[in-house]
Symmetry: C2
Subunit: 219 residues, 2 copies
Amino acid sequence: MYSFTEENYLKAIYKLSYEQKQSETSTNAIAEELDTRAASVTDMLKKLAEKQLVNYEKYKGVSLSDEGKSVALQVVRKHRLWEVFLHDKLDFGWEEVHEIAEQLEHIQSDRLINRLDDYLGNPKHDPHGDPIPDKSGALFIENYLPLNKVASGQACILTGVSDHSTSFLKSVEKWGLGIGTCLTPGDKNEYDGTLEVELPNGEKIVIGQKSAAHILVKI
Amino acid sequence: MYSFTEENYLKAIYKLSYEQKQSETSTNAIAEELDTRAASVTDMLKKLAEKQLVNYEKYKGVSLSDEGKSVALQVVRKHRLWEVFLHDKLDFGWEEVHEIAEQLEHIQSDRLINRLDDYLGNPKHDPHGDPIPDKSGALFIENYLPLNKVASGQACILTGVSDHSTSFLKSVEKWGLGIGTCLTPGDKNEYDGTLEVELPNGEKIVIGQKSAAHILVKI
DNA sequence: AAATATTTTTAGATAAGTCTAAAAATAATA
DNA sequence: TATTATTTTTAGACTTATCTAAAAATATTT
Ligand SMILES: [Mn+2]
Ligand SMILES: [Mn+2]
Ligand SMILES: [Mn+2]
Ligand SMILES: [Mn+2]
């Protein structure tokens, strides 16, 4: 239906709008997200507007139309379900699944993705804790809290990460943390920003401010 | 490494060479196999020759180089392993798997395909009975016999099909046949070419000459 | 061998997606 | 407000893959 490239643009616009918490996003932001040039983005935005997938006015930013958002959510659904498959069935680490899912998310077959969903047991989250849209594109959004906002002594559960880079995911794993781990933040070093965190086994680890901001938890 | 399109051309040349039992194949045959025009094929053959993937001389046909054959076999491996996944794990019928595998065969990740292979239990054949090349591209070719060449009364086992069209596969299924079914050909009607075949439960079915030629068996 | 038919290749165009460099619009600063 | 900086768009070119129509080469008939 829509090309590989069109799907990637729609997904990028969706992601940026979501992260920036506003429906409009900019040409430059899209270019950076897709590792391409602003001129290429402008060209594509014109095509997407032509096809009514985005609302676009020159110099005034762009937002997804209903149809565009629906396509983007289907791509996100496919991406996250394939990540679950790679992680749960093929034993790939959570730092490895994203790259392969970037390719698999473009396979066109509703029947395939719905059967995969069933085969995986209709998971609600991907290996990074991100929610998986259902068949109709509905997404249940939970407001998770970054660990650095949690009060000292307040026990909480790791539910996701907001940085998917390999280096960050590997260090989270090295600390012995993963989705579902119970954490209790302790003392914060006001000088260098590091945070002490207690694990269920009583062990205490120290993590930097930046890491604490990308570890999402629920209380 | 190689584009979607390049992979499809290499696979087509491999398939035609294999079917025609000679390494050389023609521009027109490739055009028909890929549902494109002869002029497009000529253009692509020049590019593939440039990249040393095929041996090509104007007006003299084309054959795969060692590297080209290796790429083609990897694509075939991926195609057939994905067909097994779709059939065995996601319960797709053998008439449905090919179309989806045409997309999945282009996913680039050696680690993925090798893990998938292990996950599926290193199958030797796809749902149509076709052999699956191993990691190194080695293919164990068995000489199966079309059912119409089997002597009357000689029991044999269905091991594959040489036509993958939906209509044929559906009719084979309707007769209650599948990979592994034991068959005993009986009387052949010399007038209309139909063949009587006995099944393990004693039931007798009648199939046409064309179908009998596309049902492969071993004795 | 000459005429005809078929196959294959070339020539020139088109579409999708990308790029650089320059121009235009908008935003920030003095 | 005028100047400067940043962002965005246009203009024109390039790549990959495709097409039609015409020319060239090869194969088949008479
Ligand atoms: Mn991902
Ligand atoms: Mn994810
Ligand atoms: Mn197939
Ligand atoms: Mn097959």
